[in-house]
Symmetry: C2
Subunit: 461 residues, 2 copies
């Protein structure tokens, strides 16, 4: 595999790659909304076709209790290494819809950037793997075996993928799992994600009176569940922005001063960060830098809260119910199920007697660490260096891909996280986008990874 | 006017009264939603027709900057006393719609109770006055002059009624304003409202980052406006449920021990109250009883709060904006504009540097006291005693009718609050209702009021 071959192939097929990606993006495969169930099947069919056309020996759609999973493979030699590509075809909801400048499921290119829900996460990023595979097949450059596993429930916590892995251990056997569902520092600063946070996502409900009341006739004499919920949420963090749930930090790994010093070398400009988000100031746990706050420390965020009258104008109602979605990002060694239980117990414990409280764990996943001394990391490093002409920086991401930790647990396979997203891609937000540069550069870098990985694996034997 | 004449007239016209009321209720005149503007005109036309058919000399619809006002009158002798009836034809929004057992604008009678938005507040209650007037006209029993002023913006704070009063002082000249927009203790315990709380209704907005962010990539490093709003709201009341806004209590009237003792004689069963609302416990300012908490003490309630993802399932978003509607009920001598300003200054003062905060006063009104020694009170007392065979109890209501204080200020006329609603009427809530008993008893009591009022006024001369 010569570098120019990849560049030529991309040049020749530039527009077709995009057209094909756009076909996938146009399917509104929002996994959290039941009405989009048929779209999950459409997106899976699209993936099956894509993999087969790229040159797979076979590709199948596997049913689960939830959304289907696409599995495909190209086995060239059982003695060669095997790479298992993981991606997801489901996307986040699109509200608030009024903030989108272009319709979320009608991809458009503006100033060399694709705008659409899923443009980055994870349709754009996963599709790079299909096209890298196609390049290697069509130019006779595939150096090892390749397997694809594309699921449809990542954005809702992959509730059925673990079971699928359990039941298909033999089929999924591989030396490394390759995932592009993370970001890099900047277009000219390549980076490889070496850590992911875990997640506990909770929904809470506080009920006061059995119906909405007139706030004049009852205000002051009946506990208002919205006020109560605010007090409860407020008490979950203290003045240093530490989480107050008892035993919450018990299993948090203490990072050494040396390691923190090493991490602080990653290029980061807090003024640019503030400017990009239009913030007067950053915020977070006392004693930690911005990158540490998302990289090595857990966090607690309200993802949604709602109660009472939220329409236009005034309505003097004392609401019956107040609800919130609250998630915690976890770091290595914090067990998400244990944390969800600690949260539930604490939240019920702080509930005042005059309200009823319900707590539900919606989903979760473990944190993950990808060691920089494994072969796949070294191969990725070489691939980035060749593609970007710059050595990539190892970084810990604040995001979560819960299934990555589960892969290690169930399949015993490590993952390498070659993400090409940018912070400005607005994933999960209105106007999600993905620069064409990153899309094509990703195809290039991924292709180079296979070459270096196979070489290093052979040397290792 | 003989008591049996009223009873006979009601008996003969029972069904027609209801049919006519239902015609009014069917108009979805929600003043806080702009799309219902045409319904405000329909409701005004309906009132004009109703007053004219009842026997008014004239009735007109007056335009304002907002919704129209209906004015009608029957002047029989300029030397006789004049009663000005005030009511409103606008209603509250109906959400959450899914909690209604019957469609809100299709009135239905179930177990002798009318179910519909506006059945009590204030279509049902105001309509009693039209029918009492009709009775007096058709049976030649009207003992004094009568004027009607029915507005369409009470539920949004009567923003244009003050100006209308200013501009029509001569036309609105009267000896007393008669209002049925409050409640009574129980069907067998008549009461007259002698006090109303004032209101400051605020909307607040907290903005963090300039767009919704991924809670993994940013969580812990960027202030979450939903968490911040919870902390800010939580801090507005202390552990004794006292409001913490500086100077908030400065003008609150201290009620003497003797007066509190007198008030405590009103029948009230806290166990029944808790049971009716399905509460484990009542709640509120330390050192005060439930009735005192709504009657003589101010309160602060979240009427609505919303931020982030509030749909089905999980979305790991760190929201850009969080909003809340917060209202304070005020007691006599607390100036609502002063309180709104204190709130705004305090809320901005407690805002953390890392968020932007907006505060808007949506509407408000002053508290009001209706003295028990005025002629109208004594006449009302006699009317209730004759109709219910029981002396009514004077009570302070927690609700607000901001315009009542404005009437006194602008027109120099006191109001008498003859309300026939029950706590179980669920005004402002789903399944608002009004018992037929109260509707007919109201027509009866109101008619008797005119007799006693005119007699006492003549005696007074």
């Amino acid at each position: 595999m010569e570098h120019y071959q990849i560049l030529d192939y991309i040049k020749e097929n530039k527009q077709r790659f995009l057209d094909e990606l756009f076909g996938l993006i146009r399917i509104p495969s929002i996994s959290s909304l039941a009405k989009h169930k048929p779209d999950m099947y459409k997106a899976s069919e699209y993936w099956k076709k894509t993999i087969l056309e790229a040159g797979a020996d076979k590709a199948e759609i596997y049913e689960t209790k939830g959304n289907p999973i696409v599995y495909g493979e190209k086995i060239i030699d059982k003695n060669l290494p095997t790479v298992l590509v993981y991606g997801h075809t489901d996307v986040m909801p699109v509200d608030p819809l009024e903030l989108w400048k272009t319709p979320p499921f009608e991809p458009q290119i503006i100033d060399e950037i694709i705008y659409a829900r899923g443009a980055d996460d994870d349709k754009g990023q996963a599709f790079m793997h299909a096209k890298a595979f196609e390049f290697m097949m069509k130019t006779d450059n595939l150096p090892c075996n390749i397997k694809f596993m594309i699921e449809g429930e990542e954005e809702i916590g992959s509730p059925n993928l673990g079971k699928f892995c359990e039941e298909n251990k033999e089929m999924l056997k591989a030396d490394i799992i390759l995932v592009s569902d993370t970001g890099m520092i900047a277009q000219d600063i390549p980076s490889i994600t070496t850590g992911l946070r875990g997640l506990s996502f909770m929904e809470v409900e506080v009920t006061g009176p059995n119906r909405d009341l007139h706030s004049g006739l009852f205000g002051g004499a009946v506990a208002n569940p919205a006020n109560v919920l605010c007090k409860m949420i407020a008490s979950l963090t203290n003045e240093n922005n530490e989480i107050t749930i008892p035993n919450f930090y018990d299993d948090v790994q203490i990072i050494s001063k040396e390691e923190r010093k090493e991490m602080s070398k990653a290029p980061f400009n807090v003024e640019d960060y503030k400017k990009a988000l239009d913030l007067n100031d950053v915020s977070g746990e006392k004693g930690y830098s911005t990158n540490e706050r998302t990289g090595i420390r857990p966090s607690l965020d309200v993802n949604g809260i709602w109660s009472g009258y939220i329409g236009e104008g005034a309505k003097t109602v004392l609401p019956s119910v107040a609800k919130a979605k609250i998630s915690m990002r976890l770091v290595p060694f914090q067990d998400n199920e244990k944390i969800s239980k600690l949260f539930e117990a604490h939240f019920k414990n702080i509930a005042p007697k005059n309200c009823k409280v319900k707590v539900e764990a919606l989903h979760g996943g473990q944190a993950y660490v990808s060691p920089t001394d494994m072969i796949a990391y070294k191969a990725a490093e070489k691939a980035y260096t060749e593609a970007f002409d710059k050595k990539p920086i190892p970084v810990r991401s604040g995001g979560s891909i819960p299934i990555v930790a589960a892969f290690e647990e169930i399949l015993g396979i490590k993952s390498i996280l070659m993400g090409f997203g940018l912070e400005s891609d607005a994933i999960h937000s209105p106007n999600e986008n993905y620069p064409l540069f990153n899309f094509y550069k990703g195809i290039e870098t991924i292709s180079l990874f296979y070459k270096h990985y196979t070489k290093l694996m052979k040397k290792d034997c």
